[in-house]
Symmetry: C2
Subunit: 285 residues, 2 copies
Amino acid sequence: MNELEYLKQLRSLPLHEGARGLEDDCAVLAIGEQTLVITHDMMAEGTHYLPDARMADVAWKLVSMNLSDLASKGARPVGVILGSSLGREDAEFLEGLRDALLAYDVPLLGGDTIAALGASTFAMTAIGEATHHPVPSRKGARPGDGVFVTGTLGAAMLGFEGKTQYVDAFNRPRARLEEGYALVPHVTAMMDISDGLMLDAWRMANASSVTFRLNPELIPVADSARFDDCIRWGDDYELLFTCPHGLDLPVGAIRIGAVEERRDAPIFLGGTPHAYAANLGYRHG
Amino acid sequence: MNELEYLKQLRSLPLHEGARGLEDDCAVLAIGEQTLVITHDMMAEGTHYLPDARMADVAWKLVSMNLSDLASKGARPVGVILGSSLGREDAEFLEGLRDALLAYDVPLLGGDTIAALGASTFAMTAIGEATHHPVPSRKGARPGDGVFVTGTLGAAMLGFEGKTQYVDAFNRPRARLEEGYALVPHVTAMMDISDGLMLDAWRMANASSVTFRLNPELIPVADSARFDDCIRWGDDYELLFTCPHGLDLPVGAIRIGAVEERRDAPIFLGGTPHAYAANLGYRHG
């Protein structure tokens, strides 16, 4: 079963209302007067990192990718729960984990450790507290809004390819938590760009039943000669959001396009429609 | 690194106070006036289930082992978060998951699905709400308390070995949630017996700085000819708890011994001291 089919089947199971139909990046759980935001991401050797990756970087990235989902909800991390497969370089993994927990000032809440055969798998659940209501989803983009990103795309790709100045962008990405807190009162929709701008923008536009008209000249990329790759590769963990036109934003985000009534395709890049998600970015499974 | 060493290193990381020093089965998180209980368990092919196991049973067991941890805290499940590796028999896995969610009336809150190479790994985080304060730990057993179990030990082992009448005990264990809710106001310490009575009793006595004197004639086992195996094999998910002497218990639990001041060893089985955890039960890593 591929990931899309599996996800479709998961959606037919009994779902918590906070699961948002498994159509968002996080679950949103009202507990008394507070709202928790919960996310879960896994990383597997061979799929999410190369067998020769430094395990300290893998641990850092596991924390960052989970906290990036909280950032996209404007949620403040409460703690993380770690599931580890014991394997090679466990001490290095723990050092990277320590670095990340200290850098983000996030404590470990618990977890499980197992011995596993073959490729290692790590799981993390991050729990955060909403700082603003409603907690944004992918669904709220409205015609007339602007489409924004918080930073340059393609840096992680160049780092993965070995360009020295970008190696940290790939190995040690930072979740945009501060940007998330600052933006959340203003946005109509927000998500992180983990699978590439084009694919994630397509998903947001589709979830919102609108069309994003993106202007290629406005999209900030790390290498303009590799424009198409930079907007598809992913792993940059910038925030993608929409908000009403003319707002004075509290952080330095870049306007890359506009939200329009739904047309033939969820996104247009310049004049070119992209009706289908295929080949727009990183696809699992 | 083996699991004990890894856990020791994890304890040196920045921990949330609700992590209970990573010395308990769950994290306990105060959110406003409510208290959440959170647990995480993983299952890996080859370590926790055989490559020819039915994936529907694996899914059931993943839910049961997580909810069993909530049961041991008297916590009512709110939802579960699933991390899946896509692989063989995904449809069967989903059917077993559906069976378990319906049987326990617990909804799915979210998750992540990945493609992984080699052996599959599944991760689950279960979130519950405490029904009683304080939430019990392994630490509260006091001299004078009785030591109890909620049911027969060794059934899962016999099921694993193929004894027809016990196959369900291995493949489809039930988390003792109702027993947990009923017992939690009365217990001084409680945990589930996932790794075998002897090892888990040793851990509880050790955490409580007391000695458990267990009476072999009182311990209920599925096969008295295999007594030593039944009290070591694990996977039965009965609750082990201590409570003050003479209490009228709300569920039919079996008194298997008494808590005494700490002596030479954390547990005595009849007259025999067991000072060390080695060979007492299932050890990971």
